[in-house]
Amino acid sequence: MTADTYDSQAASEIVERFGNRPEMLVQILLAFMDRFGWISEQAIRQLADELNLSRADVHGVVSFYHDLRTTPPARHAVKVCQAEACQAMGCRGLTSHAEKTLGVAMNAGNESVTLEPVYCLGLCACSPAVMVDGKPYGRVDPARFDALVAPFAGDG
């Protein structure tokens, strides 16, 4: 998805769906993420305007939450849980493996895929866990990881 996909009409409709209520800002931003994939400067301006908030208010919220990105996403998102229950089952090794397989470092990406940390998917009794394009997977060893990302690994 690129900046071109932003559609101010669609954005207005989302804001309206939440009753133009400023206290729904976080929920509206999440709906923007679903619709546009990221929060652009244009989106921040429009939200500030329609919710009667300052741009600084909106920017502050956008920059606070990990889920809200301010750059266009890659085609695929891979998250590897880095929290304790996954550490106990070797997520540090799995992370190195993921970096090698995908050819990107943790917290980095290319056009095809981003590799990000996540702090707990709640799959702590079947760790280590990953999330691929929004879908959680448990008991992930290197072979299972490779199978999960096979459809797009190496595209970058």
């Binding site: 209520r21 606070f64 702590c124 009794a125 079947c126 999330m131 959680p136 448990g138």
Partner: protein
């Protein structure tokens, strides 16, 4: 012949290890063999180590099969799955599996048992009985029952629920709120999610009871974004409850109005802290508030608000149905009732064990958990999430009791128990505690925001062998500052895991290789 009922859980952990694929394979196999089946997507019983765990209704029994893969399905059908036939994966009747029957299911008793999105099934299993009882006995008697039960907040802080409800009820205001905290961010925990996916109507009923008791007609539900399936299940349950008149105006002719709005988190750990959560519910940055005033007096939008964890809330219906004294009979000392312990990390039989307080860590880890998954020695156990202490094997006989844990510088928190084997380097774990705090700090208070970053640096120097004694003293001093001067538990308790590593595993600083 009537369709054979087959249960395949639709719960995040089960789905993460293939439950959806198993359900598909079963449907396909049934079609190919011309067999009539009724596929029920139930919640999980919590035996994650056996997931995907499927069941077949045979007579009045439900025969379980564990760790089923799609590839097993044709073979299972051949072995007579539909009549509970013999197979390597057959576990026997689900209500005879020792791991499950040895538990004290109080808040989770419907999880796994019912179809989570069937109101009829819920009603057939005591559903909304407690709310009806509440309407009968009145708000004051509900609060008295909750107080008498000894129920304390299950989110981690252990505050007496009856006192909180009484405070909100007694504070005059034109509007009051119930805010359910489902921002289950602690590593090692998944009990809230299991409940929301396995018994969502039970949670809706519990929130309505809380609203009725304190005089609140609006409920907010704050769910973390990392649980997409939970969102689907819970929002569907809200719609169904609303359609059937269990939410909305004049619930079932009682004269009581109550509705719930679902809000999602956006990947911030600190939003699990109650005041940060309230800020987030108001559409703002999740920055913690000064206390006092406590949320029970000035909470959401400045109004008196009950902020309760999901498991706290769902402990209430049985208090009304079975009696406060039945609840108080479970547990020890001032820790009454049950807690959903979550066995996770390096453990052979991981999952959710709801058990009365007073059980020891050893009983949980060895008897239920079967020791480590790797078969190696247990080296450390982190209890209560990323802000909880790491306990060495020598302390496994500590009973799970809020006060007993505080006495050893630890906490039970939300009941997460993460087991590590002897390959772990604990200096790395101490470093991670500080690093996590630096990533997730809301930034409002200096000890947390700056202290955590300095903490990582000091630990790095210790690991590198630079002036270890001076850095050790500096780290202890930093922990004192963070503990004493932070606004909330994030900065105030990050020192718990760090100090526990200094106390029990100091030798690991000299053997750590990088971090």
């Amino acid at each position: 012949m009537a369709a054979v009922r087959i249960y395949v859980p639709r719960e995040t952990a089960a789905v993460s290890v293939g439950a959806d694929e198993v359900a598909l394979a079963i449907a396909r196999q049934a079609k190919e063999t011309g067999t009539a089946i009724e596929l029920v997507r139930n919640g999980s019983w919590g035996a994650t180590w056996l997931e995907p765990l499927i069941e077949v209704a045979v007579g009045d029994k439900r025969i379980a099969y564990g760790n089923v893969t799609p590839a097993d399905v044709p073979d299972l059908f051949k072995a007579g799955l539909l009549s509970g036939g013999k197979h390597d994966k057959r576990l026997g009747p689900v209500n005879e599996i020792p791991w499950l029957i040895d538990q004290d299911r109080w808040a989770f008793w419907r999880c796994g048992l019912i179809d989570p999105l069937s109101l009829a099934d819920f009603r057939a299993h005591q559903g909304f009985k407690a709310l009806e009882k509440a309407f009968e006995i009145g708000p004051d008697a509900v609060i008295t029952a909750v107080a008498d039960s000894g129920l304390r907040g299950r989110g981690g802080a252990g505050f007496p629920t009856g006192i909180k409800w009484r405070t909100v009820a007694d504070t005059p205001a034109d509007q009051k709120y119930i805010a359910a905290n489902a921002d289950e961010g602690d590593s090692g925990t998944f009990s809230d999610r299991m409940l929301m996916e396995g018994d969502p109507f039970g949670l809706i009923e519990s929130m309505a009871i809380a609203g009725y008791a304190v005089g609140a007609n609006r409920g907010y539900f704050y769910l973390r974004s990392e649980y997409p399936l939970t969102k689907l299940v819970f929002s569907r349950a809200l719609d169904l409850a609303r359609e059937a008149g269990w939410l909305g105006r004049n619930i079932q002719g009682s004269g009581f109005d109550f509705d719930i709005e679902l809000h999602l988190g956006a990947g911030s750990y600190v939003c699990g802290e109650e005041t940060a959560m309230l800020e987030s519910l108001e559409g703002k940055k999740g920055i913690v508030r000064y206390k006092p005033p406590v949320p029970a007096i000035e909470g959401l939008f400045g109004k008196p608000t009950v902020v309760n964890n999901v498991v706290t809330l769902t402990s209430v219906p049985n208090i009304l149905n079975l009696g406060a004294e039945r609840h108080a009979a479970y547990g020890v000392n001032r820790s009454k009732g049950t807690l959903a312990f979550q066995l996770s990390g390096n453990i052979r039989r991981g999952g959710l064990v709801e058990k009365a307080f007073g059980i020891t860590l050893r009983e949980l880890i060895e008897d239920f958990g079967g020791g480590t998954a790797s078969g190696r020695q247990v080296k450390a156990v982190q209890v209560g999430g990323p802000l909880g202490a790491y306990l060495p094997a020598e302390q496994l006989d500590t009973p799970l009791d809020y006060e007993a844990f505080i006495a050893i510088g630890a906490m039970i928190g939300h009941g997460g128990i993460v087991v590590f084997d002897d390959t772990v380097n604990m200096a790395q774990q101490a470093r991670f505690a500080m690093e996590f705090c630096a990533i997730e700090s809301c930034g409002k208070c200096t000890p947390c925001r700056i202290g955590s970053t300095r903490g990582v640096e000091v630990i790095d120097r210790m690991i590198a062998g630079e002036d270890r004694e001076a850095n050790y003293d500096l780290l202890v001093e930093l922990c004192d500052t963070m503990e004493g001067a932070s606004l909330c538990a994030m900065g105030g308790m990050t020192p718990f895991p760090v100090r526990s590593v200094l106390k029990y595993f100091a030798e690991d600083f000299s053997s750590a290789v990088g971090a």
